[in-house]
């Protein structure tokens, strides 16, 4: 579903991501962990095609993000760490905007909006301007907008930040359902307990370099993910 081969991204002299390779298959929830400034967000932005990179190849569902970005973006959804949505729109207008861009038929769109908005208890607020939403409400709206076009791959940067416990629980369930249905999810998080319980595979990045990746068992063995992470950080 997502192949990252030798990805390198530099900001001037600084190497933000250094020769990173990862492979994410359908059905997998892949966690991406690392300290602040390790290169997680940069990697995710390169994968989504909103940040150019210096070396390497990224393919989404077999399509190259550099050569055919529009086709890649049709197959994926992205939720950034801080969901700055269009404040001047109402929630429903934003969802319809996304629906129009992805060409979702009216009846399918309405059914999905109804379903996901009810799930996150956001239906009553859909007519409100986004500028009146709290951070958590914006995050819920970004999640609905990501799920609404039924993408094959979902990329999320710290998706649980700002969500209340119930919404976080629902999101985890939706992530699992999505992958059980053949989709894939690649997300960054600082919450190691969530990563440990939720992810099929995990990758740890340190100073732009991938230091460990694989199934949860391969990465942590008999220890906790937290212990492994702190050990790797100390090295």
């Amino acid at each position: 579903m997502l192949n990252i081969e030798h990805l390198t991204k530099r900001y001037g002299e600084k190497i933000a991501v250094d020769d990173l390779s990862l492979h994410i298959y359908p059905g997998e929830i892949y966690g991406f962990i690392g300290h602040n400034g390790a290169g997680k967000t940069t990697t995710l932005k390169c994968v989504v095609g909103i940040l150019s990179f210096d070396e390497g190849v990224v393919t989404v569902n077999g399509k190259n993000i550099r050569e055919d970005p529009v086709a890649c973006k049709r197959d994926l959804a992205y939720i950034p760490d801080n969901p700055d949505l269009y404040d001047f729109m109402s929630g429903i207008k934003y969802l319809n905007f996304i629906g129009d861009v992805f060409g979702i038929p009216a009846d399918v769109r309405q059914e999905r909006i109804r379903r996901y908005a009810d799930t996150f208890e956001l239906t009553g607020d859909l007519a409100q301007p986004i500028s009146a939403y709290s951070h958590g409400m914006k995050q819920k709206l970004a999640v609905i907008a990501a799920w609404i076009h039924d993408p094959k791959l979902i990329i999320m940067d710290e998706p649980f930040v700002g969500l209340d416990p119930r919404a976080a629980h629902l999101l985890k369930e939706m992530m699992r359902e999505h992958c059980d249905a053949g989709g894939a999810i690649f997300f960054s998080t600082h919450v190691l307990e969530v990563a440990e319980k939720l992810c099929d595979k995990v990758a740890i990045i340190k100073q732009g370099r991938l230091v460990k990746a694989g199934t949860m068992e391969e990465v942590k063995g008999d220890d906790s993910l937290e212990e492994v992470f702190l050990e790797l950080e100390a090295e």
């Binding site: 909103i50 529009v70 049709r74 992205y78 950034p80 700055d84 009216a106």
Partner: protein, 531 residues
Amino acid sequence: MLKVLVKKQLGEVFRSYFYDAKKNRMRSKLSIAAWFVFFFLIMVVFLGGVFLALAFTMCGGLTEAGMDWLYFLLMGVIAVLLGAFGSVFNTFSSLYLAKDNDQLLSLPIPVRTIVAARLVNVYLMSTMYSSTVLIPMLIVYWVTVGATAARVICGLLLYLIVTFIVLLLSCLLGWVVAKISVKLKNKSMITVLISLAFIGGYYFFYFKANEFITDIITRADTYGARIRGAAYGLYLFGRIGTGDWLAAAVFAAATALLTALIWRLLSRSFLSVASGGAAARVRYVEKPVRVKSPFGALLHKELGRFASSPNYILNCGLGILLIPICGVLILLKGQEVAETFNALLAGRPDCSAVILCTGLFMLSAMIDTAAPSVSLEGKSLWIPQSLPVNGGLVLRAKAALQLLLSGVPMLFASVCMAAAAGSSLPVKLMIVAASVSYTAFSALFGTFIGLKMPILHWTSEMAPIKQSGAVIICLFGGWVVSMLLGALYVLFGYRLGAAAYLLLWTLAFDAASLLLLRWLNTKGEKAFAEL
């Protein structure tokens, strides 16, 4: 602390002069100097020149008649109107809608310091406008009458008093808009309507000004006596510039007192107004969906952005209202105007048609929604960048909005102009064709320059809408192109005849538009992806 906050705000206003967002680095010293020279030329040469001429017109007559105070009163009122007009629209957003209000309020900074810093910003912006009147006013007076110590010191005091009166007016109006907007649902529309009424009044005064000033100069004694009798305060105000210490002291004390009161009022209400903007809750009712194409969705989004912001509408869309009004005026008075121009420039056939086109193009330059639209994406830029649409399509939607907003009024006004021109059919057709081509060029150029000079990190939308280089270039560049159209015809173009001359311009606009469209679809798409 105040210094730090003011520095932060000014840094944002002038960021594009020092920092090249595209290259992600500071500009070279030469480039910074070039930007400031450009800014200086616009403010001093263009605006300052207009008011220097006005000051010369009034000063001689009024001072000879011993009515120096009336000269200062008239120029002072013009400075107040210009300063308030220039800054009233950004006072509300600078004070209450700045995106860093929450952050600053959470820091251990007294609210009054935050308000003071915002006010310094408003003061500097309004002073920039009113100075274009006040500086010529003082220089012309000192040159005409002589610069004694009392006149210079009191003149400088008058300068300060006027700039503070502008600040007080701007703040009061900004505060009123804020109080109203907290209670209203359709804030944008109400704000736009109030502002349009203000602008209408301003333009009424502006167009009547010449008649008004001539009348005052010829009947200075009568008006002077009336003002002195009925409004002694105004007389005292005018006396300040002549070197009247008592008048200067009275007004300086009154202005200082009012400034302190306004500052106190704003400081005390700032927290509730800045954080109390929650509108009445709107109930969601599911409605049938009208499916749009991706381009339609993007265009609709741009329209929504435009309609949601009074600042955007007033600063970049004023021409939408002025162009149809101009069209109707041309229908009513066009023949008369055309005959006047044709008589003035008798050897240049159809010069009136080209000169009227110049005027229309200048109004069209006042619609520049495309120029700030890339910058207005701000922190939401990730949305169009991560969606499955070409950057070229996003950019074309931005250009299309401007084309839509200016195209219809321009078509209407150019048809009115063609009807009133009294020229041959080919000239009439070319008036319409040139207007349409200019409109398309203007929209594409605005998108191009907006992409070339983006300001994506702003805390107040006024930065991209009003203070960005892209908008300034579009507005003043549009005026320069328009004036070239008329000037070149009067100098050389008349030899070709108006139809052929306008055809040449139409072809030039079309060729430039095609090049710009090609650029937006290729290099522009890449540049947008790399923002």
